[in-house]
């Protein structure tokens, strides 16, 4: 088993699925020529291995998604890349009114086996280029939404997403592309719709996903030195959301914090808190807390950007605040 990056794990998934199924095609802006393959290098080199099946498209996200939907209806399995999640907004109509509607609206007669890959993230890129739409994307019936946090999950989930017969929005993260983790050489799949416990602990449950899992794991280390053990649940798929582990965990720890990167109000955390209190209210010793991004358009200035985003320190503070009078 080798340690590889999240970026490399995604590429391996694409490579295996391209080799497995001739109907898989990969389209997106700057995924062939630019920098050797992709604004963030995920497709680097693939166009040489699979001539004609990896193609640069015009800058027209509405068409990238829309043409992808049509090709999927016609029997292809397109994997379309939207350079960053911010540009997915240009394709919002295609995602919501077309991709997510076809199967139900046409009474099960039409399928849209398409994956839309796109990274969230930030990096001094200001208000229109540093957004997180986890909550928004996850609010649409008919769309599946996946967000892996580790290289292992990235590969296994992308392979499942490509073989899935529904449109899947596959959320990646700029801050995760360079992270490393063990990925087996053998083929494996991770089922969509299944959460995973990433760390066992008895004092407090953290429910999280994506970049915030990495931050939470750092926080867990710090807290462990203080004698506080976090039980960390990684959702992995945001729609349909599997809260079974989270609920089970809360029944054990009696404390929960939801950690997300996106804006706090109307966020995914709000949904998770509501579901946990519906199903585990009697087990809670304290109101469930949320760690989330500040609700401001992202400023460019370094200090302001830093102030709007949650990191490990914020998770540590939230946990300490909740357990202040306990241990």
């Amino acid at each position: 088993m080798a340690e590889i990056t999240y970026r490399e794990a995604l590429k391996r998934a694409l490579r295996e699925e391209l080799a497995h199924d001739p109907d898989v095609v990969v389209w997106g802006e700057d995924i062939v020529a630019y920098g050797g393959g992709g604004a963030y290098g995920v497709t680097a080199g693939l166009s040489k291995e699979f001539p004609g099946r990896i193609r640069d498209t015009p800058i027209a996200e509405e068409a990238i998604v829309g043409v992808g939907i049509g090709a999927a209806m016609g029997g292809c399995r397109p994997v379309v890349e939207l350079m960053t999640i911010n540009f997915a907004l240009v394709a919002w109509d295609q995602i919501v009114n077309h991709a997510a509607k076809q199967h139900h609206m046409f009474n099960g007669k039409i399928k849209v086996p398409m994956v839309m890959r796109s990274p969230a993230g930030f990096g001094r890129t200001a208000a229109t280029h540093s957004q997180n739409f986890d909550a928004w994307l996850s609010s649409i019936p008919g769309l599946k939404v996946v967000e892996p946090a580790t290289p292992y999950d990235a590969k296994g989930l992308l392979k499942s997403a490509i073989r899935d017969d529904d449109p899947v929005f596959f959320i990646e993260h700029l801050q995760l592309y360079g992270t490393r983790g063990e990925v087996p050489d053998e083929e494996y799949f991770i089922p969509l719709g299944v959460s995973e416990r990433k760390r066992e602990g008895k004092h407090l449950t953290v429910v999280t996903w994506g970049r915030m899992l990495v931050e939470t794991m750092k926080a867990a280390k710090t807290l462990s030195d203080e004698g506080v053990e976090l039980d960390v649940i990684d959702l992995r798929t945001l729609r349909p959301m599997d809260l079974s582990l989270a609920i089970e965990s809360v029944k054990k720890t009696n404390h929960a914090i939801v950690v997300e990167e996106g804006w706090r109000s109307i966020g995914l955390g709000a949904e998770i808190v509501a579901s946990l209190q519906e199903q585990a209210f009697n087990y809670l010793d304290a109101p469930i807390a949320r760690v989330a991004g500040l609700e401001v358009p992202m400023p460019y200035a370094k200090n302001l950007e830093r102030a709007t985003l949650p990191f490990a320190d914020d998770v540590v503070m939230a946990v300490r605040a909740m357990l202040a009078n306990k241990y």
Binding site: P58, E62, A127, R290, P299, Y300, L304, A318
Partner: protein, 348 residues
């Protein structure tokens, strides 16, 4: 300004192009020193377009651009200090460090901003032009974009609308032959971009974007048309950018020989030799002096930016809404509920 420029006006064109070139080189240096972060899209090689075009407009004509906007900001007369401070993300910047390189603006100078979602600003330009007509002014709008922006839906929607309502907009397409790393023949079925206007029955021209006087001349004519109520136009300026798409671009996709060939006809020395020196408007000694003056101006801009403080943290919630209302957030916490605005926000 008319088509026949006097000596001072011609020298001003040269100074502006040189200012942009030196400013951009300095920005690259500051990016390498991590004084500047995020995306930095430089304008080297394309200077003649912004300078030629804006010299043909009135200072109160409206300007909307894409994110490759430093040249437009400087040519519109924004202070180099404020522009550099914005790139540094400081309080003294054009938008107080909120926008950075891609979102320079100065509304007092009718520069309504650089925009970073490809095609996003095109309808805005049409709307600004409508507002000018609505308010019975004769101001026109210049809307700048790259070749890669002519494939997205808003391009066609904006062109059709502007033509349909005969609005005074000049759509200026800087065709530098690439959209990021994707060559024009890979991203567009029509590679002579000006022809796309014909789908909307819009008047269009193509100009050598390395020839500042040619750009000036054609924009003068298009502006006169638009101001005279004859409607919008599309101008394709053929050009080339010397650096990668942004500072994040390794630029492996363009061949070294192609770049070298393009640099052989550089808009700045070409103008200096063919016009300023040939017509004896400047001597080589004058040019050396100008170069030194501009270098000093840009160095001063760096000093200014460096000395300018970071924006205060307690300004984070400012200007999210133009009109405060009850229960609006006025402060926040990453781990708990937000602070709410306590005023009543009454209208009127």
């Amino acid at each position: 300004m008319g088509m026949d420029m006097n000596k001072d006006e011609l020298i001003a064109l040269y100074r502006q192009m040189l200012l942009i070139r030196i400013f951009e080189d300095k920005s690259a240096e500051m990016y390498a020193k991590a004084k500047i972060g995020g995306f930095l899209h430089l304008y080297n090689g394309q200077e003649a377009i912004a300078v030629g075009a804006l010299s043909a407009l009135r200072p109160d004509d409206d300007l909307v651009t894409h994110y490759r906007d430093h040249g437009y900001a400087l040519a519109r007369g924004l202070n180099a200090n404020a522009v550099m401070a914005e790139l540094f993300g400081r309080e003294g910047g054009t938008t107080g460090g909120r926008g950075g390189s891609m979102h320079l603006a100065d509304v007092d100078k009718h520069f309504w901003g650089g925009y970073a979602i490809v095609g996003g600003h095109l309808p805005l330009a049409v709307g600004l032009a409508y507002a000018n007509v609505h308010h019975k002014t004769d101001r026109i709008v210049m809307c700048v974009m790259g070749d890669g922006s002519t494939n997205i839906g808003t391009f066609h929607a904006a062109l059709n609308w502007a033509q349909l309502w005969k609005l005074p907009v000049i759509f200026l397409v800087e065709n530098n032959m690439y959209a990021m790393g994707t060559a024009i023949n890979v991203h567009s079925a029509v590679i002579e971009i000006y022809k796309k206007a014909s789908a909307h029955d819009m008047y269009a021209e193509r100009v050598d974007g390395k020839d500042v006087l040619a750009v000036h001349e054609v924009v003068c004519r298009l502006a006169e048309r638009a101001r005279g109520g004859e409607g919008p136009a599309l101008l394709e300026a053929v050009t080339y950018r010397y650096r990668g798409h942004s500072m994040a671009d390794s630029d492996v996709q363009r061949s070294k020989s192609e770049i070298a060939e393009q640099k052989m006809r550089d808009p700045i020395p070409t103008f200096a030799e063919n016009v300023l020196l040939k017509r004896n408007l400047l001597t080589q000694a004058d040019m050396d002096r100008i170069q030194k003056e501009i270098e000093a101006e840009v160095e001063a801009a760096v000093q200014f930016a460096d000395a300018s403080p970071e924006p205060a943290l307690n300004t984070l919630y400012e200007n999210i809404y133009a009109h405060p209302v009850a229960n609006m957030q006025s402060g926040g916490s990453l781990i708990g509920p937000a602070t709410l605005y306590s005023g009543n926000g009454k209208h009127g």
